[in-house]
Amino acid sequence: MAAGCFHFAGGIQAKRSTHGAFVDARLRLHYTMGGKSDVGAVALKIWESGLHVDSTATRPAAFGSELGQQARAAPSWYRGRQGRRLREMLLAYSFLAPAFIIIGLFGLFPLAFAAYESTLRGLNKIVGSYDGLGNYVKAIDNLIYILTFWIAAALIYYAARTIAQAIREHREEQTDALRWVLPGFLTAIGAALFARFVFILLPEMLLIPSKLRGQANTQEAFRSLVVETWWLPKVQVALWVAVVLLAAGAAWGLHVNRRTARDSREPVYFMPFFSAGIGLTGGAALLWLTWQEINAAYAEALEEGVGLEIWSQIVTISAGFLLLLVAWGLWESAGQRSSNTGMALRLVGAVALMAGAWVLIAELPRVVNAGDEDWWNGLMATVFYVMGTVPIQLGLALILAALLFQKIRGQTLFRVLYFLPYVAPFVGTAAVFRIIFSNRPTAPLNGLLDLFGAEPLLWLSEPAGIIEMITGGRFDLGPILSGPSLALVAIMLYGIWTYVGFDTVIFLAGLGAIPNELYEVADIDGAGGWAQFRHVTLPLLSPTIYFLSLYAVIGTFKAFNHIFVLREAAALGTTDTASIVIFQAFKRDTRYGYASALAILLLIIIMVITLVNNRIASRRVFYG
């Protein structure tokens, strides 16, 4: 480490001096040859193209020797334009290194680690036996096979589409895209093999604590076992195969890149082929895993003598989703056709929609019932939370921002006050709301109810759904229709209270970015306040609205702190959103593998929401 730092400092020193000299020389060239522009231009061109300065004849001798000395001091690869680019590259990588080591270790590696951990069985143990998709089956039953199958299919489809597009451009626009195939694929395979290396190394490293059992559990023993594990032949082979392939792919890519003429505006096709390669290998691996797992499940069922219906469920549920997709596509395309075709398409679309929905309604609940009740309840609570907070929160914030924007006296003060709930530490404000929403009859909200002559409520300790409470429990509404529990509604109110100010501030910034001329034009056209808001403000604000709604939805799926503080045991888990369920599986139940599986499912949900949002936004959002 110390040696690295030293080297790093030395590099900067050398860089600084040569840089300075170059620029100096360039300026002096300008200065001395100011009169004869053609000669100066030639000299500059030669200097720019990276030839050695002392091999040109157009340069006055006076500072040629100076530059020569400068150049002689450094090795050949360190000089000239190539050397400068190399030095800048090395310096840039050393600037990035610390941040990327930390983010890689605590931000990216956990993804692979969680994926690995989620395949392990075992309670209260870090290393359990391999269980395949067992944890996922526990959580969402057979739906996981459908999920992995369709993710694999989507990856392969994405790869195929990317390759097809590159080939089309290769044909149509005479670009030489195909020479990027090999470097891209090589690097992708290298990356996949690197992932394989991680999955070989991880279990060995995780076994170390159990190897030490019964021995002197010292740090030295632990460290020597770590070193021993690192030098295991299979670990080393896996590592070097991956490194060699990665290096070969990267070197080939750089080579191709160098052969491409600088001035040709040909795009670099490395990323498309690289991601296509990743998609193909990832998709193939997932398909293989799914196949193995389904076979294993059937073998197990055969042994126990029970019937399994994985395949039929996969087919029916997939068909249901496909029908929904088809219906959506038809509905969308109907808008672009002439009225008769459009009507027909919409009819077909509606039929497909109903058929798909019917299949799903018939099949999905059976799968859901077989999964983990806590997890499904957590997802339901999260969805309730999203639907109950995001629209209200954005609506209120939009109103406040629009009002604040009207040249109001004390605008800054209002903004500061609105923003306060968001800035104040969550645990502190949640502690206050615990008392405000307390079930004591003398608590603030119950006191308010008492003023109106109403009975006190349990608030945060009330597990009953609000619709159930409003209807007085006369009907058996089932878990979905009875709505979020009153406890969850109280937490939603807290969430709205916290985030309205944040949304208002961002809306205000969005409003400030709308050019004033548009309003003046609208004024001249005789548009009133509401018409201006509807036809000028809202469309131009749509990127902000889109950003905020995506941010709020994803934020809800991630939400933890305030819910954790506000949850009461008496609410019987009706307030536990997805993140809380994961936390409890990990911390309270110490089911490491299961918690990891749930976290991966949460990630998949967030990714799907983001993708769908992007698709919708690309059509509906108006970027001025």
Partner: protein
Amino acid sequence: MASDAVAGRAVGARLVDPATRRAAFNKLLIYAVLVFGAVVSVLPFLYTVSVSLMNLTEATGGRALPTTPQWSNYVEAWHDAQFSLYFMNSVKITLISVGGALVFCALAAYAFAQMEFPGKSFLFTLLLSTLMLPEAITWVPNFITVSWLGRISPVPWLNNWPSLTIPFMASAFGIFLLRQFFQQIPRELWDSAQIDGSGHLRYLLRVVLPLSSAAVMTLVLFGFVGAWNALAWPILVTTTPDWRPISYGLLSFLDEAGALLHLQMAGAIITMLPIVVLYFFTQRHFIEGIATTGLKG
């Protein structure tokens, strides 16, 4: 615009003209809504202050204001909840993690904004993709990583500062925020810095960082708030109070204090006060930082 026209007219005409009267009424309505919003935002804080100054019977009795302010509640809460320990812990954690974040994020952001190297867009995309990861997915792996690292490094990680600070010393958000500002610095400045014989590191320290002090300030503030708010991760990696940060400290105090509402609220005020004071002094940076980064999100 309408209000300007109104202001230009004679005061006497204002009450007579129905159009101006309607404008004045609208203005009043707007202020009423805005003031109502402000009251809702601030009332819980005022209620906290009020309860924190009550005695026990007043606090549980549902009164709005204390008869005589009990300032001793703060002293009691401070001692009962070991707030002096938690407070210092949080200050130390914040200083270490924000300091590290500043150095590492500034270096990386500078490389992304002002330097050329192969793989730049790939690395940047990789970096931004980490923003999408939910915190929940890192809990199990990072807990294992941290306990494992603690066994090979000279300092223990669990129940100690490394596990609470090192994972937060670099964040995609921080790098992104600084890069947005660094990119706006004109290229000519770098050219002239080169003429003066300056290298990248000196240019970053002497020119780029001072010019983007607003972004640096925002990063520091967010780091401060983030460290102060941290809850899930400290619960996982601290089992003793030695390094327990203040949010977790307050949460455990809330459970211990049980029915002593006045002490709970005093604890809440103690926890919130530093951030709220900091916010009132730097609210411009806070809000503008949120507005600029949020919009580009």
